[in-house]
């Protein structure tokens, strides 16, 4: 399920894995064979003698798509393996569309929507009702959308659906639940400088888009404190009028389900489309940025620039380029920085290719304080090599095999097929996008790689952000010879008035 929106091609595992306790020592990420060096013919290769039979025939079951006259789209995906029914409504409009002075509104909306509940059943009563049935209804806010989802045993499907629809059409906003959500958000804000990875990822995003850009701006105590119940109500007004994408999956009969969904959604008025966004970006001046964190012994290095999006027509070649640069064990970055130099556990990166706005080019490395400059240089050299060291047919072949042989893991379950179709619908991509994308990947040539590298990789435009322990970083960052090192202030602004959180 993690083929997420705008995710990179191979899910670079370098991201903070988060969960603290039962520590699984992940061996790492994926990758690509860098150097055109390796294969000498001195030993037999027994694995090449193992036959690869024809893959069993496979016809992925596509969901049924129904577009209602009012513009709402329904997807039905029958799946009878387990006795469950789940559903989701994706609603256009998210945090990138909120008022900057109220940054965090959509996040608070996503939490308080469900916890408030409805006029008939408040949130606490809903918690009990669902827990008794081991069922779930949840709401959430994202950068470009909000969502309502539900899931239950087949036997409870009707009552849980009815409750979810009650929440969609008749929420009763609760001031206490908004306050609770504000407290949760305030806690995250207050704690955001505790995590080195959190700082690195947040601040590097600001360098890419500009600190105040909707894709980078952060919530502050003042912005979440200014969100009132009326703001949630007013945001919700758009929700039932939007271009809803309703998808259901599980153990049901499609004809009956279609009737039921039509009864709910056909009666709604013609949808109101979100206006097209006019994004503009204000990337930071290239150079070296530094954040001093005294309680760490490892630097988190982010090398970033503004990239491009999935509609660029170069997305297939860029996906292959990603694989060669930082995709897996055989990538140039992994081979050099981790395997050859032993300087990092986590290293990887490339272009993220979101569906409807430019993504970041982002290479990250984590290395002990003393080797910060060496590891940064090594990563910068590998980035520069994309325009210097010619791509080889062997690299191309390997990268394509990496991506294409496992391509079917994008649609090996009915759940994945459904969420893929919802995603394509949401962003206005053709339903056969995966097929055309796969065909485009197959056609990528060495010349294409060279061309996209020249078009999109600009070493002189990169910003390097280092979060680390300044006292231990020797040699210092000025040794990178990329101009004066620019400190970044990450002090958390405290509102003069008492914060929403500390009221007694």
């Amino acid at each position: 399920m993690n083929q997420g929106l705008g995710a990179r091609e191979q899910g670079l595992g370098t991201r903070d894995q988060g969960s603290g306790f039962r520590v699984l020592w992940q061996i790492g990420m994926l990758a690509l064979l860098a150097a055109p060096v390796l294969l000498s013919a001195q030993q037999a290769k027994p694995w090449e003698q193992i036959a690869t039979p024809k893959l069993h025939e496979f016809h992925p079951q596509q969901p049924k798509r129904i577009e209602l006259k009012n513009g709402i789209v329904l997807f039905l995906q029958e799946d009878h393996e387990l006795p469950f029914v789940s559903g989701s409504i994706m609603i256009p409009g998210g945090s990138r569309d909120e008022d900057a002075a109220k940054a965090g509104l959509v996040e608070l909306y996503g939490q308080a929507w469900r916890t408030s509940g409805t006029a008939k059943m408040n949130g606490d009563a809903m918690d009990e009702f669902l827990a008794e049935r081991a069922a779930r209804i949840e709401t959430g806010g994202d950068v470009d959308s909000t969502s309502l989802g539900w899931n239950s045993l087949k036997g409870n499907a009707d009552e849980v659906y009815a409750l979810a629809m009650d929440l969609l059409f008749h929420p009763k906003w609760d001031a206490g639940k908004l306050k609770l959500a504000q407290q949760q958000e305030a806690t995250s804000i207050i704690r955001r400088n505790d995590s080195e990875n959190g700082i690195a990822s947040r601040e590097s995003t600001k360098l890419v888009y500009g600190a105040n850009n909707p894709y980078a701006r952060q919530t502050e105590l003042a912005t979440i404190g200014s969100v009132k119940l009326a703001d949630l109500e007013s945001w919700h007004e758009r929700t039932p009028k939007g271009r809803l994408i309703v998808s259901v999956r599980g153990d049901f009969d499609s004809a009956a389900m279609e009737t039921k969904l039509r009864a709910t959604f056909e009666v709604l008025p013609q949808i109101v489309r979100e206006p097209a966004r006019k994004d503009s970006f204000d990337s930071a001046k290239p150079g070296v940025y530094f954040i001093d964190k005294k309680d760490v012994n490892q630097s988190n290095i982010q090398i970033v620039a503004l990239g491009t999006d999935r509609r660029s027509h170069d997305e297939a070649a860029l996906a292959v380029l990603n694989d060669i640069l930082g995709g897996g064990f055989a990538s140039r970055l992994f081979q050099t920085v981790r395997t050859k130099l032993g300087l990092a556990y986590a290293v990887g990166g490339g272009f993220s290719l979101p569906y409807d706005h430019p993504g970041a080019f982002d290479v990250d490395v984590m290395t002990k304080s003393a080797s910060t400059v060496e590891a940064t240089r090594a990563a910068l050299d590998e980035i520069a090599s994309l325009n210097q060291r010619p791509f080889t047919e062997e690299e191309l072949k390997r990268a394509k095999e990496n991506i294409l042989t496992g391509f079917l893991f994008r649609f090996d379950t009915r759940a994945k097929i459904l969420s893929n179709q919802v995603r394509l619908e949401f962003y206005g991509y053709p339903a056969n996008y995966l097929e055309t994308y796969e065909a485009a990947l197959e056609k990528v040539t060495v010349a294409d790689l060279t061309a996209v590298a020249h078009k999109y990789v600009h070493p002189e435009k990169l910003s390097v952000l280092v979060v680390g322990n300044g006292a231990e970083i020797k040699p210092g960052l000025d040794e990178l010879k990329m101009g004066a090192v620019m400190p970044v202030d990450i002090t958390i602004p405290r509102p003069a008035a008492p914060a929403a959180t500390n009221k007694k």
Partner: protein, 511 residues
């Protein structure tokens, strides 16, 4: 059910959707239908293969479950099991080398050079710095000599080019697990790769990989406030058992593990009888002879001796206070028995009632009513479950609230468990959800492979996955009160807390 992922961090990621529910009649059906899909095959060398057929898509997932983890690291070698896990990605005598015969000789020289260097380095008195320098250079030269024969990352390269998805491995304190998913027509290639790395590991590039693992330690533990706290917490809670020892390894020990030690660990613990391999997906019994052929390569050997150290009864409350410029955090734990205890399901019930979702007691009390925490949970087992472990509670204080308040609030909730019965509704919700969680886990090939292999290892029969629901159903209110009174006593408690210090400068600290 036993693999609780602690720190679900509800406070950061509540809008995660979906749990499941169903009646218990369905479970009996499920067990029956799984019995038809599953084949268990014990090979002559002692290795157990589990095959579970699921033909929805032409893919399979596997999990190789080795009944050894960092709890088995010998004294002075903490982190060894995890180091070996990294080595298992470095190839075999056939994969990853241009000339194994020559490489083998070169690797022996690396070991000799390292031993000479370490001997001088560790001299308590009279270390000769000039000699040390020369030995270090010789060690580097020997490594370079061996490196000439290496085809870097060839093992993973073959796997990835053949469609390996979600390729990774994990080393816990109790066990080590290797896994990925692949297109169904690569089954034989997979069997070649997996049986090869289990039976024919070559300690190549070991010392660079050790540097990589030291970076992993810096990332997870040293540079992470929660990681630092947990390491100190466990080291304090345990005085004898290896659960108290750093899993990734203390830096001085991890930094001196040798390839020879890693291979000795392999010889002792990677015997066929200590390994279960589960494959789930588009496979069939007809594949068994082929799989048997490959996995027979894994050396037979006795099941390693079980650890005999038993943590002595704790008789004094212990406390770790970390004062630093990070935000406050509260964690406490109580010693409790291993997963084999007759009350294992009772601990599950307590964890569920205290922590599962918005109806749970800790959420309702600390988060909603008192509004002193952003998240609060109690869970077990921690940090492992094969041996007596801890029932832990943690909470994330809201701004302006202290760890002292948090501790008191948690203890009030614990006292309620000890002094009054839980409600019928609470107990029923736990039972419903347990069945739900079980079924939920069946939906995914990789998850099912991990679970089948683990249950087969821990109980000798994967069916326990279904059968243990009987134990869940038998949990009573009296059981919960009895166990709470037994375990949640002050003298059995260890507390770790982070207490925020004021920043010394305006930039970079916590505030």
């Amino acid at each position: 059910m036993r693999k609780i992922t602690p720190f679900r961090r509800l406070w950061l990621c509540l809008p995660v959707l979906f749990l499941f529910g169903f009646g218990s009649a369905l479970l009996a059906q499920d067990l029956k239908s799984f019995e038809q899909k599953i084949t268990v095959d014990k090979l002559p060398n002692g290795l157990t293969l589990i095959l579970c057929e699921r033909h929805d898509a032409p893919v399979f997932s596997y999990d190789t479950f080795v009944d050894a983890g960092d709890v088995n690291d010998p004294a002075g070698q903490s982190g060894l099991a995890h180091m070996f896990e990294h080595l298992a990605f470095k190839g075999t005598s056939e994969i990853g080398t241009t000339d194994y015969a020559a490489e083998k000789v070169a690797l022996e020289k690396v070991e000799a050079a390292n031993a000479a260097y370490e001997a001088e380095y560790l001299k308590p008195v009279g270390r000769d710095e000039e000699k040390l320098k020369a030995l270090k250079a010789a060690f580097a030269a020997a490594q370079a000599g061996a490196q000439k024969f290496v085809v870097p990352n060839q093992f993973t390269d073959i796997a990835e080019r053949n469609g390996a998805n979600n390729l990774n491995a994990g080393t816990g304190l109790d066990d080590t697990s290797y896994f990925w998913s692949m297109p169904q027509n690569r089954l034989e290639l997979w069997a070649y790769l997996e049986s090869g790395r289990l039976s024919d590991t070559v300690p190549r590039e070991f010392y660079k990989e050790r540097d990589v693992v030291l970076e992993e330690r810096r990332m997870r533990t040293d540079s992470n406030p929660i990681g630092r706290m947990v390491e100190q917490f466990l080291a304090t809670a345990y005085v004898a058992h290896n659960y108290g020892r750093s899993g990734v390894g203390w830096p001085s020990e991890l930094g001196q593990i040798t390839a020879t030690q890693a291979m000795e660990f392999h010889k002792k613990y990677y015997t066929a009888s200590n390994i279960v391999v589960a494959v789930v997906g588009d496979v069939s019994k007809a594949d068994l002879p082929m799989l048997e052929k490959y996995f027979s390569r894994v050396p037979a050997g006795p099941k390693p001796d079980e650890m005999t150290t038993v943590e002595p009864k704790q008789f004094a409350e212990k406390r770790v206070v970390i004062r630093e410029q990070t935000q406050p955090f509260y964690l406490e734990g109580y010693h409790k028995p291993s997963y084999r205890d007759k009350d294992d399901a009772v601990y599950g019930a307590i964890g569920d009632i205290m922590s599962n979702g918005r109806v749970s007691r800790l959420y309702r009390s600390l988060v909603e009513e008192q509004q002193i925490a952003a998240a609060a949970e109690g869970f077990s087992p921690f940090p492992g479950d094969k041996y007596p472990n801890l029932f832990a509670f943690y909470a994330v204080p809201l701004p302006g609230h202290t760890t002292t308040e948090i501790g008191e609030a948690i203890h009030k909730e614990i006292d309620k468990l000890k002094n009054a019965d839980v409600s019928d509704a609470e107990l029923e919700m736990y039972k419903t959800r347990s069945r739900a969680d079980l079924l939920r886990g069946l939906a995914n090939n990789q998850g099912l492979a991990n679970t089948l292999a683990e249950y087969q290892t821990r109980y000798g029969d994967w069916r326990e996955l279904f059968l243990e629901l009987d134990k869940v159903d038998k949990v009573t209110k009296a059981d919960i009160r009895r166990v709470a009174n037994q375990v949640f006593v002050d003298s059995n408690r260890t507390v770790a807390e982070i207490v925020s210090e004021a920043p010394k400068s305006a930039n970079g600290g916590g505030k």
